[in-house]
């Protein structure tokens, strides 16, 4: 009896489309919320969103993030406000792609993208530095550090929305 049931299941699936794909020739479609490797975002004017607050590192359950901060000046500005990330590193071998860092970020600077094809021959290569993580500036925008008008970017946290 059970044998027949088993063959029935097999027969049913024979009729359907295959679920497996031929990776890497074929690449699977991702859901919007898929969590792949991280990106550090910039504002449209090219300034970095990351303010070096280390909250992502604090939220990370895998202790994968390392941030060291330094101070911005108007002559050499990386991000709005006083503080920027001098060092920003993620150890991709430690990361479990949970996205807690993204949730913790007060400026939406760290976001998990869709890239997932990461392999290393040396475990040290798994440490993604700030240069590797940060997006290129938008079309026409300068990279960082920028020399800016004094006093123009003295707030780190984007404006609060009207709660009403």
């Amino acid at each position: 009896m059970n044998v027949i049931k088993g063959f029935q299941t097999t027969a049913k699936h024979l009729m359907e489309d295959a679920v497996t794909i031929q990776y890497p020739e074929q690449v699977q479609k991702f859901h919007q919320r898929y969590k792949g490797r991280h990106h550090l975002r910039r504002y449209e004017n090219g300034l970095e969103k990351c303010i070096g607050c280390s909250l992502c590192a604090a939220a990370c359950p895998a202790d994968a993030i390392w941030v060291e901060a330094a101070e911005n000046t108007d002559e050499e500005r990386y991000s709005p406000g006083e503080r920027f990330a001098k060092t920003y590193e993620i150890n991709m071998l430690r990361c479990i792609f949970c996205g807690y860092c993204e949730d913790a970020c007060p400026t939406e600077a760290i976001q998990l993208g869709h890239e997932h094809q990461m392999s290393y021959t040396d475990r040290r290569d798994a440490i993604y530095t700030k240069d590797m993580l940060i997006d290129a500036p938008a079309e026409g925008a300068a990279s960082t550090p920028q020399q800016v008008e004094p006093g123009a970017y003295n707030r780190s946290i984007p404006d609060m929305e009207d709660p009403s």
Partner: protein, 843 residues
Amino acid sequence: MSDTVTINIDGQNYEVAAGANLVDAAKWHAGNDIPVFCYHPKMDPVGMCRMCLVELGTPGRDRATGELLRNDDGSLQIRYFPKLQTACTTTVSDGMHIKTNTQQVIDARNDVLEFLLSSHPLDCPICDKGGECPLQNLTMRHGPQASRMYFEDKQLLEKHYPLGDLIFLDRERCIQCARCVRFQDEVVGDDVLAFHERGRRLQIITHSDPGFDTYFSGNTTDICPVGALTTADFRFGARPWELNEVPSISPWDAAGENISLSMRLDRDFGGKAMIKRVMPRQNEWVNEIWITDKARFGHHFTRAEDRLQQPQMRTGGTLRNSNWEAAIAAMAATLQGADGDVAAIAGSGMSNEDLWALRQLLEGVGAGRLGAWPPTHDAAPHLEQVGVGAGTNLSELGRGDAILVIACDLEEEVPIWRLRLKQAQDRGAYLVVANARDTRLEDFAVQGARNDKVVEGDAIRYAPGEAVSVMRDLQKAHPQIAERLSRAENLVIVAGAEGLSLAGSEALAAAAANFLIESGHTGSANNGLLSPLPGANGLGLHYLGFTPQTTLNIMQEPPRVLIVAQAELLDDDPAAQQWLSQVETIIYAGLFDDGISQRADFILPLQSFAERDGSFVNGERRVQRFYTAQGPMGQALPAWKLFGGISQNAGIANLKPSAAAVMLELSGSVAAFQGASYRALSRTERQFPDVGGRDLYYGGTAYTNHGGIGLQIPTAADRGADVQRRDMADVAELRAGEGELLIMPITRLYNRQRSFRPSLLVEQRILNPYALIHPDDAAAAGTIDGDLIEIVAGESKVRVRASVSSEIAAGGVALPRHLTDAAVPLSASVGTVSRVTDAVAVR
């Protein structure tokens, strides 16, 4: 009136000390943390922030008869105030009832927080206080869950205002609690901060030049309940939750401030653990919860590039890099081949363990001359006899007590003592300051009113060099002052060495000891002698047999082999070149090369206090231990390991496996250290006020003491020995002859010592080389204020700017140590001053 009263907190009765502050009492006895912002247990309450509101009631009395009113069931009738009261401005009274958990109180706390947050930037992510912020913590516990305000309505103010070089002010974050202003005014007495404008526009300003000019500014960042005041040193250095706290002891002076080193791994330091900041650690007997800016910001030398990192050995006439094994073997051979003609000079930065290992080594090769560096103060033998009694706590001095400070400048030498003695005077103690020149503490030694308190004090100005006879003849020359000192309930005398030779400093301590013995102020807590011995372990040197007298002897009769340990002879002593040239072999172990590598045959890198375990004896004879915190620099070794290694190689004694083991042996061998095992030194106890822990809003960010409160060595008087006066009929005092002046080296807290220079932030506060000279003497030397002058005394010849002022008595010149490149005399000596006519740049 009994000493305790019963109060009722949330329905529970507690027996609390009469006269206690309600916030303190609730916290100490009931563990009830009444939230506060402006109240601080070390300062008078002001009732400014309204965070501490509680329901408060007292037993009702019949108006006519004054009888206590009772309910039908016989219990007392409690009459509550119709409105909430501020707990911080309330003193407990018998039968007092408070409620801290009613809806009314909960609403009030919520409202106060909402009000404070109505114009707060809430940029916690980039705020150095974030994570240890009272405003954050209290908002989470008692505050509104969401904001009803628009960001546009918030005030936008300066976020980066430097209050001087060390402290930044964020004007948006200030909640106007005035803790910083009150600290500077009430606790320190350097009234350099103030409120400017009123109401919502109120701001903190500094009105000194340079800004925030005080040696204690860092403490305001601990007690500021928000991130309005942060240090420039730690700025964005790490987040508080990333830091690892390691208990330690300030390496700078005799106070032995208990500190906590906040450690984190760092790229800038090769991925090793590095000191990110230095914080106070509570020890109510030593430094309470305060530390000096030097302790807080002066840690950079531990990672300085120019620190010695590699053992070096002279072979074939040139100094070459070597390794420990070869160097240790060579030294063992050298020492054994010296026929016992070996001596050692140890600096006051060496720990007790180091000194013990060094002493064992010397004894092992049949040598016994142990010198202490710098040979400037010789009060230690008297401190051992009649030092301040065991259990002394300078914060217990007050009304009825007296303090005499003679021949020292505590503000520059031991700032924490100066702060605590000034506060003792605020509490009513009689403060006498005697010196040949004006000092900061002397500014306080007056009769008068200060911060609504009557203070009593006197200043004695004596001719340069006369400290000993002033002390000896106090009864005759200043009968009223002497009378008040003798009659005081408790008396502490602080005797320094300013303007004195080494022998003079011994004589001054002897004269002070005589006074104490005569007036019966010995052998009990809060009575006795103190002396600002230089360095962190001046008394450790003494207890382990290293004396300044021996150093003088070594200088006069140099040995064949001299071990110099953590002493920068060339920087300190103008004659060092000369007498060192008579030494055959110099073994130098230290942190920095002061030029001795030209002569030395061995250069050995030592670890700083931050890299290793050890213990110091502070000026109050408290043995205190410090712990390994920072990653090592190069191949540096702790000194006990180096000297122990040589001993082992020479077959004298086995190398101990740890500093703890060295201490164990030491405590079994030297009577003074009896019982001072590391375990005993790390004992802690509950201290009032209960700072640290979770409720940072109460005491600030000073750390709870987990590293140990130390162990005090009893004096001879404490042990009941019969301490005797010494006859002092004639004392040899330094006298300047015709055309000469008494050149008095003085100590400045911020100076160009090798260990301080790398702390670049504070370096800007180091004064240019100068000498203080009386107008008459200046006229005689033909100079005016600002002139370049040359001072010659013995081997010392320095060029400095003349600062002409009657702050100093005629006949003496105050010449700061370690401001000039050339060394000033070790201790006071006779010399001449002349105006420099050929213009050569100073320094």
